[in-house]
Amino acid sequence: MNPIGFERLTHYYGATKALDTLTLEVPPGCVFALLGRNGAGKTTAIKCLLGFLAPTRGTARILGHDAAALPAEARGRIGYVAEGQKLVPWMRVRELVAYQRASFPSFDEALCASHLKRLGLPEKRRVFQLSRGMRAQLALALALAQRPEVLVLDDPAMGLDAVVRREFLDVMIDLIADEGRTVLFSSHILTDVERVADRVAILDRGVLRVNAPLDEVKRRVRRYHALFDGDAPEPPPLKGLLRAQRRRNELVLTVVDGEGSVEPLCRELGARTVEPEPLGLEDLFVDYTAERGGAA
């Protein structure tokens, strides 16, 4: 059984649908990135997964348990770090470690001490005296010291500068690489995701649009630039078309599995040249989510 699963999970905030029949599985040992714009439903999905929110319909499952009735023992096998997590501000770092140790039977104090040392986090300093980046790293160190089977990270590097974010990710990659942990990782920062994720899911307004290995997504989605002698025509009806843009004499088409079909169609419309372009995750994400989101 996969360590994480969502089965037709739907959640409403009042009349607003935040998640719409989300169904996906996270395989063991996978670094799984959950992507989406603000309000796409990532945090809602994670809160349902950890039992902080009761879904309106459907179920979330983690480590074989229904998230709505997650026992304390299972919670101890899950590490969780959220964006801007409120650690206890008045506690010293070492007091926070003791607080955490008391709540998690598998907490490895020696491992925690080595993380703190590596990250240069002063044990005597109070949490409110730490920078935002240090607090994020502290939260990660505490979560990893639990030796969790599943690590859930909800945009943990949000708001950190590029250098701190890079450090944070390096630490995360090093720490999880050896132990084959399953990681569910939500982020806005796609360059970060590209560095660490094995598999990605893209949520758009609560609806799952993509769920596939990152390499596969990048291989299957291409952007085609078709150049015409005059003004570019209306885009042709294409299976797998994600986004079409007309720029004077150029038609730009982002298509899933368009190899072999896009070029002949564009040629029929009078295209002089048709050039495919591989996409980075960021471009790919924009093309998946911009259609109804108002981006150019």
């Binding site: 809160k47 409120k86 709540s103």
Partner: protein, 208 residues
């Protein structure tokens, strides 16, 4: 659940100063030259419980978004029990302060503590505190705290409504100043407290 208890105690500690100040003032005025009725003192002292209840409930409400505190490998009921215990400890410190202040100012009545507990009677003027009065005082203060904490911090507010029905009944039976008020009040207070604390524990999982 010592760390949760200690954390709660520390986070409630800003309330200790006003609670203790209130207790000392109440204890001293009770033993002062003015002839003060016990029920008046009781009403004044219970404000301390209500104050701490509001503060504690506010803390509970704020914690609802504190996912770091909520994601623990500890049953929610145990965490709630540790937090409740911290609130009780703060209030008991207040009551102890009140009693000590009273004792210091009325040394001649030390023997009363060893006397058989007797429930207080409304309308009577007291110049000393016996065990019965202290018990009733503690009950009133704790009930105020329990109900207000539960109401302010409740996840499902409708569950707090019955407690609000019971508390006025207790107050009414108290203020009616009959000879039997003490038993009725004590019963109502016990029910209110049990309801508030029990429901709070039963709904502890809701905070997640």
């Amino acid at each position: 659940m010592r760390p949760v208890f200690i954390r709660e105690l520390k986070e409630l500690s800003p309330a200790l100063v006003p609670v203790l100040a209130f207790a000392v003032i109440a204890g001293a005025s009770f033993a002062g030259p003015l002839s003060v009725q016990f029920d008046d003192i009781l009403a004044v002292a219970s404000v301390g419980g209500v104050f701490l209840g509001c503060l504690h409930g506010g803390l509970d409400r704020w914690r609802r978004g504190d996912l770091f505190a909520l994601h623990r490998a500890v049953p929610a009921v145990r965490m709630e029990a540790a937090r409740t215990l911290a609130g009780v400890v703060v209030l008991l410190l207040g009551i102890v302060a009140l009693v000590i202040t009273h004792r210091v100012t009325t040394l001649s009545h030390l023997a009363d503590l060893r006397a058989m507990p007797q429930l207080a009677v409304a309308g009577r003027t007291y110049d000393h505190l016996g065990a019965g009065e202290i018990a009733l005082l503690a009950g009133f203060v704790l009930a105020g705290w329990a109900v207000l904490r539960f109401a302010v911090g409740a996840v499902r507010i409708r569950w707090a409504l019955p407690a609000f029905v019971v508390l006025p009944l207790a107050s009414w039976s108290f203020l009616s100043r009959t000879e039997t008020f003490a038993a009725a009040t004590a019963l109502a207070l016990a029910l209110t407290m049990l309801f508030s604390l029990g429901t709070g524990l039963c709904l502890a999982g809701d905070r997640r």
